[in-house]
Every structure is written in C-alpha cells, then in structure tokens.
Symmetry: C2
Subunit: 169 residues, 2 copies
Amino acid sequence: MTKNPAPAPWNRLDYSAENCSLLHALEIVGDKWAIPILREAFFGLRRFSDFQHSLGCARNLLSTRLSNLVAEGLLEIQSYQVPGQRKRNEYRITEKGRELLPVLIALLQWGDRWAVDPAGPPVLLKHRNCDGKLHVAITCEHGHTDLKAKDIEISAGPGAIRIASGRVA
Amino acid sequence: MTKNPAPAPWNRLDYSAENCSLLHALEIVGDKWAIPILREAFFGLRRFSDFQHSLGCARNLLSTRLSNLVAEGLLEIQSYQVPGQRKRNEYRITEKGRELLPVLIALLQWGDRWAVDPAGPPVLLKHRNCDGKLHVAITCEHGHTDLKAKDIEISAGPGAIRIASGRVA
C-alpha cells in the first residue's frame, strides 16, 4: 500500500493576500461608523432619531452611513407613521447584517477584558433561556470548542491565488 | 411568599453609549491596518519584510502601524540576527493580541459567506486534532451554542451610565 506524501505546510507568503475574505468584510464594515450603527440596531434601535441620540453624530453623517448600510444590504428600510406626523423610515437589520453579530460580540468581549472602564462592563449579555453568560468561541464542526490559535490548521482554499514566494532569507 | 417584580426591560436609550467596550475595542483595532496586520501575525509572519511583502503597504506606514500595535500591547518586539546581517526586529503576537482571534475568524467567516470571490474562500481553517471545519459561535456558559440575536437578553452591567431617556414618541 502506498501512502500519499504529507502536503507541504501552508506558507502565507506563497499566496496573495488581496482576495482575503476578511479584507472584503472590512471593506464593508471597516469604516468608523458601520459597526457602532449595527450595534445600535442589535440593541433594538430602528429610528433615525434614536440612532442619532445614542450615537451622538451629525444628522448628515448618520444619514449617509445608514444609506451605505442599506446599499450594502445590512439594513433595510421600512416606513412607519406616528398619527398626525409625516411618514418616516425605520432601519431594520437584515440577515446579512444579523450574521455580523459574532463579530460584534467578539469585539465586545475583547473590550470587556482589555479595554473596559474601571467600573466594569456597561452591558451584559445572557442566554435568554438559561441565564448563562455569553461568549464567542472558536468551535469546530465536531463540537470541540474554545479553540486557540495553536489548535488551528490553515490550508489553501479553492480561491487561493499562488504567487512567487516572498520569503526573505 | 412575595415575588419580586420583574425588572423593567433594558432600553438602550436609557444608557450612555460612550463607555461601550465595543467602542473601546474599535479605538484600538478599528483603523484600516490593525486587523490586517494581526491577521498576518496569526498566519505566522513575524518579520518586517514579510509583513510588507504580504500587505503591500509603504515601509513608513507599516513601521508606524507596527509601532502602534506594539504600544497597545498587541505585538511585542524580539530581536533576531541572520548571520552576516545586522540585528533586526521580529513582531510576535501577545496574549492581548491573540485574544482577538475570534474577532478575526468572525470577520473571515462573514466575508466567506457574504463577500467571497466567485472562486471561493482563499483560506480554510480546520481544527488540527480532528480536521473539523472551524466557525465562531455565540455560546453560553452552560454549553448552549450557535445562539442568535433572539436568544440574547441584554441588561445593564456594573459600568452602565444611566442618562435621561432619549426615546422620541
């Protein structure tokens, strides 16, 4: 029986970094306001005036940022009308936006550990059903959880672009 | 037996958003280069020339960004010397930096789903021990996993700052 040779270990410098999905994600949510606005949407805000109150940013800036998030499909507009007032827009988070929740909670838990105010975390997140405190965990499909960098094996995916190695001796 | 009244539900607009741990985290890693540099560090790069090759950014910009990450305690400098060359610095990720890994993988998985190139993901992450594909999951301390926004209960933490409610009727 012949055995396949072990594949060469993945070397970062053999591959282009330009088509990285993480960079593509940052192109969409990496500006200063996208994640804070999405945080407010997760916290239940929908109305322009509420976003403005909570974020304390200028109306025109908020308007542009909300429009960008709508254009990217992270928020969607639904109109509402308080009796006696004009029709207004509400901003509701979409599935594409909701799937950023692990990013937000991962940032929150890191901030709670490494950049928290002396008084402690301003917000606590619990599992509604059992009151258990939440965290974000690196998990594998076979159920192993709380994995660390040393537990992770990296390999080239179908979209990997091989380049001349840049390893400098 | 008297029963305690149910606490009023948490309302975002009753609390200041200024001391948010997520914002504090973004103040440290929210600029354009911090997360891409940390990604390269997770991918195993340590040397200035390797970071430069992979990220394709200008030397002076990279130098400033690496210094910022060292100043924030996310990377630390260790010197090395190739025989016959001058002493150089390597940048190694610290515990504080390593704990950002869930943020990076959460961004990567979102990008793989919502912003990936047609060819597919360029990088695959697996659990080294069992070959299981990785993802980042919102998990509670009692072991419930893959929680969604609707499963999460938000409440005020010890650092919450109560403000006059901004709810607009």
